[in-house]
């Protein structure tokens, strides 16, 4: 019996090792029902391993996990009925058309396209003009939409999306996140992973993950608020030289057109230092940190090697 619990996903001390190389180490987290939860971390952080454990494709070495209150080992058959999964790699039949793929997966899950059309209508209508085209001949953005339709066709309660936006251009990424927001409004729990730090802000809660360990779990706002330092953005005409000089002074990283520097005693001292180094054109301002600033800071202060 599914336990009455408001958590859709629970991971409890999950560890998984491949050929003696640890993929994930003692990971614990929970995702509330109806939440849009993000796993944020670079390739090789262990995100896909977590997804595979949750979708019952892999057995963890130790620890327990439940989806919708169902145990991933014992109740794997029930879980397979109520989750939708989009693996990291495009995993549909390239030699079948859009329509054939969708019909196939609908039948596989014991349903029909028309039964749940309402759920995928918004997304499917964007690719419907090409429904007789083979999936292998679609653009990255369209493949993504088709894969999402196929993952949703049986109206899953929990949706697992493994790096849905990797390798997709900025425009398609924005569209994709808009679709996720709409799905969330339909009450579907969504767990999504991404290596793009800027997408973290689009999730309700996130786990920052690196080398198989969690650096931090919270809402994006709370993680940013927990940044321990003042953070400054600074720029000058000679950016690369400035970066080298400032590294000697504090913790400094390039961020787009600015450098972000923290670990300095104050704005005036910083200005004095760059003047002394001979920069006359610097622009300096205090900024609120973004998720990427937090991630870098967490990497430095430990949590992961």
């Amino acid at each position: 019996m599914p336990q009455q619990n408001s958590d859709a996903v629970i991971l409890n001390n999950i560890t998984k090792t491949y050929n003696k190389l640890p993929a994930v180490t003692e990971i614990s987290l929970s995702v509330k029902k109806g939440e849009l939860f993000g796993l944020i971390g670079p390739d090789g952080a262990g995100k896909s391993t977590l997804f595979r454990i949750l979708t019952t494709l892999l057995l963890a070495d130790s620890g327990t996990a439940t989806v919708n209150g169902l145990d991933v080992v014992k109740d794997y058959k029930e879980i397979r009925r109520c989750v939708g999964y989009m693996p990291g790699k495009f995993s549909l039949y390239q030699d079948l058309t859009i329509e054939e793929n969708l019909n196939f997966f609908a039948t596989l899950f014991g349903t029909t396209v028309s039964a749940n059309y309402g759920l995928i209508k918004d997304i499917y209508e964007q690719i419907a003009p090409f429904k007789t085209r083979r999936a292998g001949k679609l653009s990255g953005g369209m493949k993504q939409k088709l894969a999402l339709c196929c993952a949703l066709i049986h109206r899953p309660e929990v949706l697992f999306l493994d790096e849905p936006t990797t390798g997709v251009d900025a425009v398609s990424r924005k569209e994709f996140w808009n679709m996720l927001q709409r799905l969330k409004e339909q009450g579907i729990t969504i767990v999504v992973s991404t290596p793009y730090m800027d997408e973290a802000d689009l999730c309700e809660r996130i786990a920052l993950i690196q080398s198989g360990s969690i650096l931090s779990i919270d809402t994006p706002a709370a993680i940013k608020a927990a940044y321990p330092d003042k953070l400054y953005a600074i720029k000058s005409a000679k950016m690369h030289q400035l970066l080298k000089d400032l590294r000697a002074y504090g913790s400094c990283y390039a961020f787009g057109e600015y450098l972000h520097i923290s670990g300095v005693s104050g704005e005036t001292e910083l200005l004095a230092y760059v003047k002394e180094k001979g920069y006359t054109d610097v622009v300096l301002k205090e900024i609120t940190p973004g998720i990427e600033d937090c991630f870098i800071r967490l990497l430095q202060t430990g949590g992961a090697s």
């Binding site: 971390g41 670079p42 390739d43 090789g44 952080a45 090409f130 001949k137 679609l138 653009s139 990255g140 953005g141 369209m142 990797t166 390798g167 997709v168 251009d169 900025a170 425009v171 398609s172 924005k174 290596p195 793009y196 730090m197 800027d198 690196q210 950016m239 690369h240 990283y253 390039a254 961020f255 787009g256 057109e257 990427e292 991630f295 870098i296 990497l299 430095q300």
Partner: protein, 247 residues
């Protein structure tokens, strides 16, 4: 002396009726870091292949490192380096062996291979890993190593195709340090990326939409022109109008 590393004039590539690259013209100066952006399917890869001497343009002219893309493809290949997210090193060879192999392809002598190899390993701080299989290294290390190997023969230009995809934020920045160092040593950098903050690190960037170059300028000027706060907004404003749907 502002020598041109790449000169490209009305370059076009057609596949049947499909115009993959549509009359693009641009110059890249020696030692410049040139960002080559565009949505998926905009024609970046096709354009890059022509410039690397891997495919013939349908029409137009282009010179890379002073060599004609129609007649001197072999000379082009000797003078450029190439690295992509997909094409990386041999996973079942060690770090050293990969260096020897790629250096050997470019005709480095044994003496040079040894020196360059030592230098490279010291620079990447990989002394302890030099005998490890590349397949066992973390992604970020592989990418840094792949880049260093791609420029081991001191090419005039290096083409980087999404070199930092999926790499963690700190390693990504270390990667860009390598790019800056290479640029300082006189190598021209031609790079594509999906990270818009990385676009800011380039001296100039071009944005391709539907096979054409719709914008080409410094990041600062582009932001001014499109009255945008970030490159992300510039890119979005341009690429949103794209008609193409297929790759």
């Amino acid at each position: 002396m502002n020598e041109k590393a790449i000169i490209c004039k009305d370059l076009t590539k057609r596949f049947g009726d499909f115009v993959a690259v549509d009359n693009i013209s641009f110059d890249v100066s020696s030692g410049e870091i040139f960002g080559f952006l565009g949505a998926n399917g905009a024609g970046k890869t096709t354009a890059m292949r022509m410039l690397c001497g891997l495919s013939y343009p349908t029409s137009g002219e282009a010179a890379v490192a002073g060599f004609n893309v129609f007649t001197q493809q072999e000379s082009i290949k000797k003078n450029i380096g190439y690295m992509s997210q997909k094409f990386s090193l041999y996973e079942s060879l060690t770090v050293r062996e990969n260096i020897r192999f790629y250096g050997g392809i470019y005709g480095l002598t044994n003496q040079e291979l040894k020196e360059k190899g030592d230098e490279l390993i010291a620079k990447l701080n990989m002394g302890n890993e030099s005998k490890k299989m590349v397949g066992d290294l973390p992604l970020g290390w592989k990418q840094k190593l792949a880049f260093s190997v791609a420029i081991i023969h001191q090419p005039k230009i290096v083409f980087l195709d999404e070199p930092t995809g999926g790499v963690d934020p700190v390693t990504r920045r270390q990667f860009w340090d390598l790019i800056y160092d290479a640029a300082d040593s006189g190598i021209t950098i031609f790079v594509t990326t999906h990270y818009m903050d990385e676009a800011e690190y380039c001296n100039r960037i071009s944005i391709m939409v539907d096979g054409r170059i719709d914008a080409l300028d410094t990041p600062a000027n582009l932001k001014k022109k499109y009255s945008a706060e970030t490159m992300d907004e510039v890119f979005y404003a341009l690429a949103r109008g794209a008609k193409r749907t297929a790759d």
